[in-house]
Structures are given as structure tokens and as C-alpha cells.
Symmetry: C2
Subunit: 455 residues, 2 copies
């Protein structure tokens, strides 16, 4: 424990590492990185350029390099593996768990994949990988690994320990041993704790726990994540349509799924169209942000056309213009709030959720309440503090009320519709709903004004 | 495996459960819930009222009831435990892991806690709980449990297995065995796999792994979550200032922390002030949403005062009003995008992050690029499609450019400042930044218009 990291992750170390690469000081690189955690080394390599990162990887033991590759961020990984020969990459993939190998192969075309797989030394690994490649990347099948321990129900504890010994190299973390019958049907699980505490001739059939939650290969990864979170599982077996055990998903993969999902939602909500990070290039970030901004701008230009229609009225009553931002802002805020609550519930679907109809009524009642409060508040301020005519105050207050109702309806309905069509409903909390609400809000506001003020 | 759940979670079952409670059909309740997963039963009880939930809990075995209590959502839990006598609640807490017991005790005042603890039967448990209550709820100390297996480095494998046997009842999931010296200093870990594969007289000192990541009791829970995610850990030991092992955090608690954090961020970004769910009452949701809406409304009213200042100019050039929504929307969208990227990076702080100064320059360059594109686009549309004068197109286009720069600056700086003061920076992506950008944007727009159009 004296020193869990030989190097400390710092900008200074990064600089000395860069210097060592330039001067080909291989001893410094190897010694300073010896014993460092792979995730930390990966963070370092993320900061280096492709040639530098490749130089470091090739100096290290191939098993360590394989572990580091898995931990690289997607951009760095892509740059590095694209530069490798198929044979070199196969060397690393031979050292990885099958699910991690598949994640890397998925970066390549079908033809390139076949080329890389043909160089794999371990026949069992390449069979596993070929099997895993069949599944959708975002499904339980795409997330699972083939490395896990299973025991036949007819084995005794000694036989099971023998199997653990045989697989010990390949399966780093065991968690549970899955119990199957002769046809590989999943029967249940037995914990390592039970194996340790049982006498050696105990039959697995007598100690295994048949209460076990498994998921089918085709289940969406976000649903798997929700099940593992809900039932506090650190690993979950994956079965095919015939309930045969085909893989295992571990909680570390799920942590990444949850993190990605949350990042994705936030990006959808804030109108950043593709997966970017603050560390990406200016052009990449700019490009990721422009599309939604343009939609907002086009919405704003359409808004100017709507106002144009009412220009004559506006000429007569120019103070109307002063309250355009109020109407627009309220519509936007209410819409985002409403959709965000719906999106949150959709993320963890439950059989006890309200039906769309119940949601709609509830949302309507909340909007009614908030609309009345805000409308009345605005009426009071506009008339008694700003000193406008009562009929003008009524125009603004009533518009507020109607805009709150409209925006709340849009905010509730849009994510439900998007979800129905399999689109990430979080988009509905973003610039899309804001832009739409702006336009509807303007039409409502000027419509009411023309009517109440006789313009 | 034939039937992992006796009941299926459904609205129909919920109804029959309600009927059974009303008619006191205890056999049906007990039989239908026998073997059901605690998390599923908790979901059912969340749907019942307090009397019904309490009725079901009291019918069940106290160990099962304790597991269900832990899984209830916060509102249901609070309702149910507030109704129990201190002695009844102590009976359940006696069956829980210390960290779960502390979570429940934290719902009560100091005096009530002491009362409940005095009823605890297990002396070791009450000592553990008293110790844990000292820590901040949101710290590693507040998250850790006292139930884990530790082995002295001088023990052999047989002694360690004896310890596992002794603690088997109390420690449900073992993961790793932590290795300590005679003074309880944390030295490293040894996996159950290694224990199984080692011969019985092997000394722990010879097989333990000294490379171990631990966290101090005072570390913030979100930082702990990030470490466990980054290093793919399923449990992490917690040490005090003297590096003595004092507890263990397991990944299931971390999944909840991550989920809560993401919900919190999204609520902050969408302007919902307190923790509400769609299933909460109309008044509770309405109350949670009003404060930010009111801030938006007050911002809108202030905006009307800004426009009022320019009323004379607006009278002369009423078309200016038509582009108010464009300016406001762009300011809002740019601000949210900028802040969201900064917030995302702040969530996983790294030593390689840009300095505030670098961030600022980068943000400025991105804004420059996007501002030029959008400003030029708007100029073209306003002049060549809408057929306005060139000077008017220039006014709108140049305003757009300035608003993009301003909003981007605000969006970058606000979350950094909030973070400095320990406030959740996600708030900066919400109604606050939008409202501020609206006001600044209006001032910029009308200022430029007055100047360029000589109004």
C-alpha cells in the first residue's frame, strides 16, 4: 500500500513522458509506468498524439497494453487501432475479454474484422468473438462477455473448484458461479462464499440458489442497466430464446452505460447534436452545436413572420412588443419543465406509471394551477406597478395563462410521441420544444391582443 | 428457475392485494408474496397508502420486511417508518446492514434516533450505527457499511475461511477480503478466488494484492462514484485519516448515487427546484416548478422595461419588434449549449482539464465561428429573402453575432463560478442563464439598432 501509483497523474509527468518519448528514453517510460493503473495510463495516452501513444503502448507488455486500450476514450482508441497492423491488433485482442475485443472490432468494417480475427491465436476466443459480433451493440448480447464460470448441477464442490482453477486465468472477477443442466439451460447461481463454506463432496444441485434474474440477449442495454440497479446486482447472466446460458454482463459495463445515457440525455436536452467533449477541437464542437442553433434561428425568423402579420396592430400599440420576451421565455421554461418530468419517468418505466391519458390530465391540472398564479401575478404587476390600462394587463395575463397551458401540453405530449417512435425523448426537452413553443406562444399572444384590444 | 416470481408485477395483482388487505385475507398476501424479490414488493408498497403498506409489512417475516423497507422510495419509507413505534423499527434495523440502518435513522431527529437505537438487540450493530451516524450523509463515510470481511496478514487461508464462516450471516456479498496489520491499517486485498485456489496453510501475507485503491471517509460520494466507475471496482475500502480500515462501499450504492446525481442535474437544468417525481401530487409538482417560472417571469417583465427604454426608436422602426424572439432564442440556446459542455467536464474533473483561461479562449473561438456563420446567414435571409434594407439586415446580423459571443461567455463563466462556490453548476444550464441572456441580448440588440439605424 505504500505507493499504489508509481507516478502521479499530473501535467508535469505528462511533459516528462513526452520528453522521454522524443528522446526515446525507453527505460524511463517503462519504469515510471510500471505498476500504474491501466485507467490512469489511458488518461495519459488520451492526451498524447497518435504516434506518441502508439510508441508507449508498444513498449509495454502486451497484456498491459491490451488493458490500457480498453480504457482509452473513443477518439484516441480509434486513432491508435487504425494505425496498427491486423496482426498487432490481434495480439492485443487475444489478451482481452471477449466483450472488450468485440467493442474494438466494431470500430472496423466487416472485411477488416475478418482479417483481424484470422490472426487471433486463441481459438476459443475467436469463436467467442464471432458469436458476440452477431448481436446488436446496444443490446444485452452486445454487452455480455463469454468469460464466466459455470458449473453443472451434477458436479460437486471439488469439481467446481477444479473448473474455477482451469478458468482462473481467463475470468478475472467471478462474482457468481452459474449453474446449468446438461443442456446448458440456466438453473440458478451459487456464490463463491457458499463454495468456500461447503464440504468438498457437496453436490451443486443441493446448494445452488434457483432465484436468479437473467436477461435475454435482445434486451436493450439501458433496460439491463435499470434491472441491475433496481435489484442491486453486480453481474447478470444472459440467456438465449431457449433459456440457454450464453454470457454474463458485469456491473462495470453497466456503470459506463448509465454514464453514457446521462451524457446523451443532457446533450439532447441542450441541443448538442453529436457526442463531443470539451477537449475536442474547436471545429468539431462548433459543428456539433450549429445544427440546433440554426433550427433555433430559423424558428426565430419564422417568428418574425408571425409578428409581421400583426404589424398593423403593433404600430397602434407598440408596448405589445415589450412583452414578447416574457411570453417567449415562459413558454420555453414551462415546456422544458413538463417534458423533463415525463422523460425522467420514461427512463425507468414501471407498470404502475400513469397512462398517457392520466398524464395528460395531471399535466393539465398542474398547468392550470401555475398558469393562474403566473397570469394573475403578471396582471397585477403590469397594471398596478407598471401603471398600464386594465385591459392591457388582462391581455398580458391571459396570454400568459394560455401560453402556460399550451407549453405544458406540448412538453407532455412531445416526449411521449418521440418515445413511441423509438426516438430519445430527451430531445423534447431541448431546442426543438423551445422553438416550437416560441412560435405558438407568439401566435397566441398576438391573437389575444388583437381580440381584447380591438386592433 | 421455473418461476422466479410467484406474482407478476401488474396493476391486476395490485388490485387483488388491495382487496386482500381490506378483507384481511392474510393467507393470500403471505402466499402470493412468498419468494418475491424485495425490490418488486417495494414497488408494490410504493403504490399503497401508509396503512395498507404497514399491514403488509407486519405480516411478513421481519428479515424480509427489513429488506423491503430499504427498497421503498423515500416518500413511502418516510410515511411508513414515522408510523412505527421505536421498538418495532429497531427490530427491522437489527436485520439491516449498518449503512441501510443509518439511512433510515437519518430520517429522524437526534432524540428520536437515540430512542430507536436503545431498542437495538445486536450490540455490535448499534456500535456500528453510532459510528456511522458521525459522518456526513453525502460522504464516503455516510455511504459505507461496517459489514465486510477483513483478514490479518498473519492469518493463513484456514483462519480466513473461519472468519468468512463466522461473518457469513452478516456479510451477504463478499467481493474482496481486505487485509490489515495488527493495528488495522489497510494493507491490500485478496479475492475469494485466490482463497479458494490457495492451499489451506498459505499465509495471507504471501497472496494478498497490495495494489488497492481506497478512499478517505470525508470524500464526496460523487467523487467515490467516479473513482469506482473509472477503475471498474465493485467495492472499495474506506479508511480514516490514519489509514485504518473503517468501512466498505459497494457498487449497488454507487449506482444509486449516479442515478440521483443525473436526476439532480437534469432537474437543475430544467428548473425544477426540489426533488419531485411524476407520481407526486399536483400541488407538490406545481410548487416545485413555480419558483423558477417566477424568476423567468420577473426576467421577462424586466425585459419589457428594457424595451420600454427604446420605445421611441421602436415607434419609428416597428419591424425591430419582429426580431426580438430571434435574438432571445439564440441567446438562450447558445448559453445552454456552452454551459452544458462545461458542466459535463466539471462532473469528471481531470488534471488534464483546460484552465479557466484556456476554456475561455476556446469558448470565445467557437462562439466567433458560430456567431459569424449565424450572423451572416441571418443577414442574407433578412435582406435577400425577406427583402429588408441592407442596413437593417446588418443590424440583425451583427446583433446575432454579438449575442452569440455574449451568451457563450455567460454560459462558460457561470458554471465555473457556481462550481467555485460549491453550488451545483448544472443550475447554470437552466432558467437562470436563459433569463440573464434574454436581458443582455435585448440590451445588445436595441443598443446596436439605435446606433446603426440612427434612431
Amino acid at each position: 500500500m505504500e505507493s499504489i501509483k508509481i507516478f502521479e497523474l499530473s501535467k508535469e509527468y505528462l511533459e516528462s513522458l513526452r520528453d522521454a518519448i522524443e528522446s526515446q528514453d525507453n527505460n524511463f517510460i517503462k519504469e515510471s509506468l510500471d505498476g500504474a493503473n491501466e485507467a490512469d495510463v489511458a488518461l495519459l495516452l488520451d492526451e498524447l498524439n497518435m504516434e506518441e501513444a502508439l510508441y508507449v503502448l508498444r513498449l509495454l507488455d502486451s497484456e498491459v497494453a491490451a488493458d490500457i486500450l480498453i480504457e482509452l476514450d473513443e477518439d484516441s482508441l480509434l486513432k491508435v487501432v487504425r494505425e496498427m497492423e491486423a496482426s498487432e491488433l490481434a495480439l492485443y485482442i487475444d489478451q482481452m475479454d471477449s466483450d472488450d475485443g468485440v467493442d474494438i472490432l466494431n470500430l472496423f468494417s466487416v472485411r477488416e474484422r475478418e482479417d483481424i480475427i484470422s490472426y487471433l491465436q486463441e481459438k476459443e476466443k475467436s469463436a467467442h468473438i464471432l458469436d458476440l459480433l452477431r448481436y446488436d451493440e446496444d443490446s444485452a448480447g452486445g454487452l455480455m462477455a463469454k468469460e464466466f464460470i459455470k458449473a453443472n448441477q451434477n458436479w460437486n464442490v471439488i469439481q467446481t473448484i477444479e473448473e474455477i482453477r482451469r478458468q482462473a486465468e481467463k475470468v478475472e472477477k467471478i462474482y457468481s458461479i452459474y449453474v446449468v443442466d446438461n443442456k446448458q439451460h440456466l438453473l440458478g447461481r451459487v456464490s463463491l462464499k457458499k463454495i468456500i463454506l461447503a464440504s468438498s463432496d457437496t453436490k451443486i444441485a443441493d446448494i445452488y440458489d434457483p432465484e436468479l434474474i437473467s436477461v435475454p440477449t435482445h434486451m436493450d442495454e439501458e433496460e439491463v442497466a435499470e434491472i441491475m440497479r433496481k435489484y442491486d446486482l453486480e453481474s447478470i447472466p444472459v440467456v438465449n430464446a431457449k433459456n440457454k446460458l450464453v454470457g454474463r454482463i458485469t456491473v462495470d459495463d453497466i456503470l459506463d452505460v448509465i454514464r453514457e445515457q446521462s451524457d446523451e440525455d443532457i446533450q439532447a436536452m441542450t441541443g448538442i447534436s453529436s457526442d463531443v467533449e470539451e477537449s475536442d477541437s474547436i471545429f468539431k464542437i462548433s459543428k456539433a452545436r450549429l445544427p440546433w442553433l440554426l433550427i433555433g434561428v430559423i424558428g426565430g425568423l419564422l417568428g418574425s413572420q408571425i409578428i409581421d402579420i400583426f404589424e398593423e396592430g403593433l404600430q397602434k400599440y407598440v408596448t405589445l412588443a415589450a412583452f414578447i420576451p416574457l411570453v417567449a421565455a415562459t413558454g420555453g421554461n414551462v415546456g422544458i419543465q413538463s417534458s423533463s418530468l415525463v422523460v425522467q419517468t420514461l427512463a425507468s418505466k414501471s407498470v404502475f406509471d400513469d397512462t398517457p391519458w392520466q398524464r395528460f390530465i395531471k399535466g393539465f391540472l398542474i398547468a392550470l394551477l401555475n398558469g393562474l398564479v403566473l397570469g394573475f401575478f403578471v396582471f397585477l404587476v403590469v397594471v398596478f406597478i407598471m401603471g398600464n390600462e386594465k385591459i392591457f394587463g388582462l391581455t398580458i395575463g391571459f396570454s400568459m395563462f394560455c401560453v402556460v397551458l399550451m407549453a405544458s401540453f406540448m412538453g407532455t405530449v412531445t416526449p411521449l410521441i418521440l418515445d413511441k417512435f423509438g426516438i430519445n425523448p430527451a430531445i423534447a426537452s431541448g431546442p426543438f420544444i423551445t422553438t416550437a413553443n416560441d412560435l405558438f406562444g407568439l401566435a397566441i399572444y398576438f391573437g389575444i391582443a388583437m381580440w381584447l384590444l380591438n386592433l
